[in-house]
Symmetry: C2
Subunit: 512 residues, 2 copies
């Protein structure tokens, strides 16, 4: 907020609503007071964690931990110390983690016991001290009385979250406390806050989709129901029995949820109290939307980026059926424009989606080149505009339709796979002369990557390449097949014609 510091959101909420449920996991409930006390305990542990001089202002803390209560508590604990959170994707290989840790240069790697083995390997390689979340919890019942709220400035660097890009090199998007707060408030101004709201988080806390639920819960004061992962039957049961009113999903999860309910013969589509499946992280296929419309499932499409602290454009609940296929209108405070060749395009015409507003990141950590490339400035419309790289258009009513997530981007189960990143790994193999990776439709995952490879000298085989990329790429990024071709189709200017490769890959059908 203006002219004032932000405060520790959870402390603020715990002061105001101590006895209200804040977190529910595995049948156990933490009130906001208990959740805050646990976060303070972790913060105290981080302060004297055997790392001289302990975690303090300006430090970065990398976090390799699953969807469990201690992770939620750590998310609140780190900014309390004036430090910056660096959430790490649990699906990455050691090499990928080491790269991100190398860029972020955290004072500590914090992990949970479930990820201890990988954490130990990576910590040793990166020579960064490792602490386990479980060791920071002494089980004492910290009292609210002793816990004064901590002042956190709006421009405090709250999070560095890595996201890959067209260059293939993961970049650390820097999000301030003010970015997150603006996003939480804007989300609330769109969805409202109902008395009985309960938000189910079955997406990873290391992604913005999950992290943003933790922050919204503290800011708006509704309980977060945490699942360790996505299980369609458990999600369905939570909606039926646990009073879930909102759930964040990627389209493939929504699809699987509907299928699970059909299989289980759940008669009424959703309970009346369930008011929103906030669905983003990729385009929602039209047949899926039609199906939701047919059974009256309340879906709110959303379009957002890691670089904008989650949602930018969201359909209001109840608008989905009126504006089928649209991602919605910009949330409160955000602006979008559609650009081509340095000029706005008129309604109905496709252009790059650019974003301006209080949720837009300050830049990429230690990467001024990528930061400069991420923004467009022009004299006519003042301010910095974030270039999403995604293509869309505005309809006559001002609703955004997303045509293509960033050029060539492959979205597999809600995870972004950047062809350039996969190609870079392939090209590191001595036998590979050229490589092009494209996405092919997949019923379960939305898309899966397929690699087209031109080899030099003796023909290489797919299995050898698969083993090679497995060392450097997380599972979801690995091509599901390798197609060996004599040349790659190129334009006259030499640009790879990816659409032709996509057509060719699709003809193969899915590997099932």
């Amino acid at each position: 907020m203006t002219e004032s510091d932000n405060h520790d959101w959870l402390a603020e909420r715990a002061l105001r609503s101590p006895d209200m449920p804040g977190l529910i996991f595995g049948g156990r409930t933490w009130t906001f007071a208990a959740l805050h006390a646990a976060a303070v305990e972790i913060a105290d542990g981080l302060r004297d964690a055997g790392v001289d001089p302990g975690i303090g202002s300006g430090d970065r803390v990398a976090l390799l931990a699953g969807n469990r209560p201690a992770t939620v508590q750590a998310i609140h604990a780190v900014p309390r110390l004036g430090a910056t959170l660096v959430p790490l994707n649990l699906r990455l290989t050691d090499d990928e983690l080491a790269f991100q840790i190398g860029v972020a240069s955290p004072r500590m790697l914090l992990a949970d016991a479930a990820n201890q083995e990988q954490a130990e390997r990576v910590a040793a390689e990166c020579r960064v001290p490792l602490r386990l979340l479980e060791d920071l919890q002494n089980g004492s019942d910290a009292s609210m009385d002793a816990v004064a709220p901590v002042s956190i400035a709006s421009d405090h660097l709250h999070t560095i979250m890595f996201t890959s890009g067209t260059t293939g090199q993961p970049k650390g998007a820097m999000l301030t406390a003010g970015n997150h707060l603006a996003s939480a408030v804007a989300s609330m101004l769109n969805l409202g806050v109902e008395r009985d709201d309960r938000w189910l988080c079955c997406v990873p806390l290391f992604h913005m989709a999950g992290l943003s639920i933790v922050i919204r819960s503290a800011v708006s004061g509704f309980p977060l129901l945490l699942h360790e992962g996505f299980d369609p039957n458990q999600v369905s049961a939570a909606i039926e029995d646990d009073g879930v009113t909102i759930v964040s999903l990627v389209p493939q999860m929504l699809q699987r949820l509907l299928e699970a309910r059909t299989k289980a013969n759940v008669d009424s589509p959703f309970p009346d109290a369930f008011r929103c499946a906030l669905t983003g992280g990729g385009p929602v296929p039209k047949p899926l939307l039609d199906r939701c419309a047919a059974i009256g499932a309340p879906v709110a499409q959303t379009y957002g980026l890691t670089e904008t602290a989650s949602q930018v454009v969201t359909l209001a609940p109840g608008e989905a059926l009126l504006h089928l296929g649209a991602a919605g209108k910009p949330l409160w405070g955000s602006r979008i424009r559609l650009r081509q060749d340095g000029a706005d395009v008129p309604a109905g015409e496709a252009g790059e989606i650019q974003v301006q507003g209080p949720t837009v990141m300050s830049g990429y950590f230690q990467n001024s080149e990528a930061t400069a490339a991420a923004f467009e400035q022009d004299a006519a419309t003042p301010g910095r505009w974030l270039r999403s790289g995604d293509i869309g258009y505005l309809d006559d009513d001002g609703y955004l339709h997303v045509l293509d997530r960033r050029t060539d981007l492959i979205i597999s189960g809600g995870e972004n796979v950047y062809p350039a990143e996969v190609e870079a790994v392939l090209l590191a193999h001595p036998d590979v002369a050229e490589a092009a990776v494209v996405g092919v439709p997949n019923a379960e995952w939305g898309e899966r990557p397929v690699a087209f490879v031109v080899v030099v000298g003796e023909a290489s085989d797919g299995e050898a390449l698969a083993a090679f990329v497995a060392r450097g790429l997380a599972g979801f990024k690995r091509p599901e097949r390798f197609v060996f071709v004599p040349t790659l189709p190129r334009t006259a200017a030499g640009k790879i014609q990816r659409h032709r490769l996509r057509e060719q890959a699709a003809e193969f059908g899915e590997r099932t």
Copy 2:
């Protein structure tokens, strides 16, 4: 929000929810798009209102207008031009208005036709151009298409709202756009935003209680149901028939509302959908709270100031019965402390209520002396703390209990009457040597002022004094009786013992 401009709240809302009802008055509904179009029309009118060079950035516009749609539209129109709104109290005398206009030095006095006569007199006296709201409305249907949102910075001086003080001299509290936004968001974080919310405004738009509803409505996107004034039967009917879910009241209005409902034999206390009577502007008498508790009326007590853009401390809905008599906990982002002799007092002990946070005014307009006196700074707790002058204590659960609105303050029907202001007028009479004004309980108005007067020479009579003060004081400030005494009771140090006068005045009973 941080690192970003605020935008025109109504434009923002109209872009996002054009077809949602935004304002309801006299059976007519304006969608947010229509409301915004009407506001733009008034803004355009102000820009070329025959005042060379028209209203623009940095100008002040004084507004003398009742609770009508054009007033709501003007409230949104003025900041759109980069100008500052100076709402004037319709109950003031010409002299009182002239004083405030003299301080604010607006470029224009804007009035509605109902207040034209007084506006003409005051405008002539102050030599300020007068325009009628009705003349700015050309009735054209401005289209949203042509209307780009206007960027309004967080530190834009949105409002100068006059409030009297212990000195008796009205002071213009300066509220920025950021102050108002922070207040609207904090209110929403306490009360939530339900799908069917509809907020009844039957308090004056020239007070913070009314103005803040206009801003919340645009920010949160719920319809404002506007009444021209407070009529208990109409309020009751609106709650029964018009879907009102929240209403802002002063305690005396709440009392009269309950009485009206009893008289009308309204069986069920309130419809289920009605969720909150936000009651502030003075202490809520315990018997009234007991009565609300008995019939299950959902009352949320609140404590706020003009200087804090309305609510600072509010009970959450549903807490009223658990914390009977408490005003609540600080809203999100705000801090309070209880001070005596430059130090915090422990829980349970009385002290001056001081406030810090994003809603606190920047100061009093053109009055650096009063601004300096309004804030306390101390080394131990950084930042400026607004001195409310009100006395209260924190209970063991951290709930604020307000014991006394500012020392000696009289609250009559929700309007603040400062004894010093009334005494100053009395002392201007040649026959009055000393004067002391205190409040006496009154069933209808909460309190009414009574004057104790020491005359010089020949005895003056009450009627003559009444006629004298009527020229300089609004009706609600005028003493309901004059008590002639040979001397005023004073302490050894010479300070008037107001509590003794209050006791004496109360013994007379009420004039009925």
